[in-house]
Amino acid sequence: MSTTYGITIGSDGPALEVRDVNVHYGSKQAIDGVSLTVPKKKVVALIGPSGCGKSTLLRCFNRMNDLVPSARVDGLIEFRGHDLYAPDVDPVEVRRRIGMVFQKPNPFPKSIYENVAFGPKINGFRGDLDELVETSLRQAALWDEVSDRLGDSAYALSGGQQQRLCIARTLAVKPELVLMDEPASALDPIATQKIEELIYELKEQYTIVIVTHNMQQAARISDYTAFLYMGKLIEYGPTDTIFTNPREERTEAYVTGRFG
């Protein structure tokens, strides 16, 4: 056990260790020297005004930025002690181990069942696929609503259900870390609440890094909060400290709604 700035890391090490990470899009710098540590089985919230680099930083963690031709990432990002950007690391494998849920629900134009089964199938899953689909849908608190219509198109679901389907789909490949980029921002309050409850349950088993622009949401669901501003990490610590007793003036201004 070690504690730095109130971040407590278990004896088996952190889930993610981020050191001096910079991201450029072409000549434009989007992330500037960010360092932070994500403890295992906790929820870490990334907050900050629109355009401050939250999504960019999140997408470094599963090498999604590799898909953006102009993006360049440097610095060190270690996942369970392995450098994610080492030359021998296969980004495809990284994305299998580190799942991602996106801002807008983006189910495949296929059946509910096929949406969940897609990940295991492409990763060569050998085993009881029906069972895996059911487990994943249960974990995402969607099973009871869809168990009798798994063959229906995913597009027939409501937005909130679609987003939980996307979470189930992510869980089906058994990731160790789940990244969520404003997963509830396109949803109504009730669907949002369901997602929040779900996140609360998921942290029993998963480490979660979640981007949110909703301050109350960050306060409700996260253990640690990182405040980003113009590509820089301004402050990172336990969520209650960030919200009630921040060290930085800018953090206080932001969390109390004075800007952003």
């Binding site: 299998r96 799942g99 991602m100 495949f108 134009p109 492409i122």
Partner: protein
């Protein structure tokens, strides 16, 4: 001021003028549409009146003849179907592969920009130029002779730019969020393309392909260049057989002095139109089937 004033508008003259402008514009557009529809209608009716009497099963299944009452369309129809099938087999896989490469694999550097511009330009090259190329390249260069295969290869070159562009557009229309979702689950590029992007783009690709093939079926000039001739006694037996096609046969009949040939030319036109219309119908069915499914 009464409560309803704002409904009628304050400047009645201005209001009348802009409504008039709208009506004039709508009328002009309607008239433009009519020109197209009416002339096409007149043409169709004229062709049907001329040809319907000669159009029967005997006509469709009879070999060509010097005597109009014995002449049939069988050889040209078979030639057109041969050309159609071979052209589809050659152009579809090549074009789809090219489109996938350009959209999903190639870097967006100057090389791919140059290729892109050239494909767009190739789509505008007159078909006779492809005929000359086909003559030099396939008939003479590769020694394929005046065969169905030479014709199909030439027409493939002709329609590939069109299919590539249609396929690229269909691929581009697949939302990037779908690709992200698949990549995010640990899919390789090939898995993303083959399992998500292509299935979603397929209806659009097929529609584009069918429309391009309809164009190929109506082509005459490049096929004359590669040696399709107006009078062939037998249907093609293989890719290396000599051949003729419907438009060429029709042209050949029309240019005969006897009036009777004009009638069977009209019947030939009806057969050609039926072939084209059924291809377009397939395209529409494909489009509707898939767009209502998701």
């Amino acid at each position: 001021m009464s409560a309803g004033d704002w409904l009628t508008g304050s400047d009645a003259a201005f209001d009348r003028r802009r409504k008039l402008k709208g009506a004039v514009f709508a009328g002009a557009c309607g008239a433009a549409t009519l020109v197209g529809v009416v002339s096409l209608g007149v043409l169709l009716v004229d062709v049907i009146i001329d040809g319907i009497a000669s159009l029967d099963w005997r006509f469709v299944t009879a070999l060509p003849s010097r005597f109009p009452e014995r002449a049939g369309i069988k050889v040209a129809l078979a030639g057109s179907v041969w050309i159609l099938v071979l052209t589809a087999l050659i152009s579809f896989p090549l074009s789809v592969a090219a489109a996938i490469y350009l959209e999903e694999y190639a870097n967006r550097g100057w090389v791919s920009k140059t290729i892109q511009t050239n494909i767009a330009n190739l789509a505008g090259v007159p078909s006779i130029v492809y005929g000359i190329l086909g003559l030099a390249l396939f008939v003479r260069g590769l020694g394929l002779g005046r065969s169905v295969l030479s014709g199909a290869l030439t027409l493939s070159l002709l329609i590939m730019p069109v299919i590539i562009i249609a396929a690229q557009e269909a691929i581009r229309a697949v939302p990037p969020t779908i690709r992200e979702a698949a990549y995010g689950l640990g899919a390789t590029r090939w898995q993303v393309v083959s399992r998500q992007v292509l299935p979603m783009a397929l209806p659009g690709i097929l529609t584009g392909t069918i429309l391009a093939l309809s164009r190929a079926v109506g082509e005459t000039a490049p096929l004359i260049m590669v040696g399709a001739v107006g009078f062939i006694a037998f249907t093609p037996e293989g890719p290396m057989s000599p051949f003729t096609v419907l438009p060429l046969q029709i042209y050949q009949w029309v240019s005969r002095p006897q009036d009777e040939f004009r009638a069977i030319a009209a019947a030939g036109i009806i057969v050609l139109l039926l072939l084209l219309l059924s291809m377009n119908a397939v395209a529409i069915v494909l489009r509707n089937r898939y767009s209502s499914k998701t």
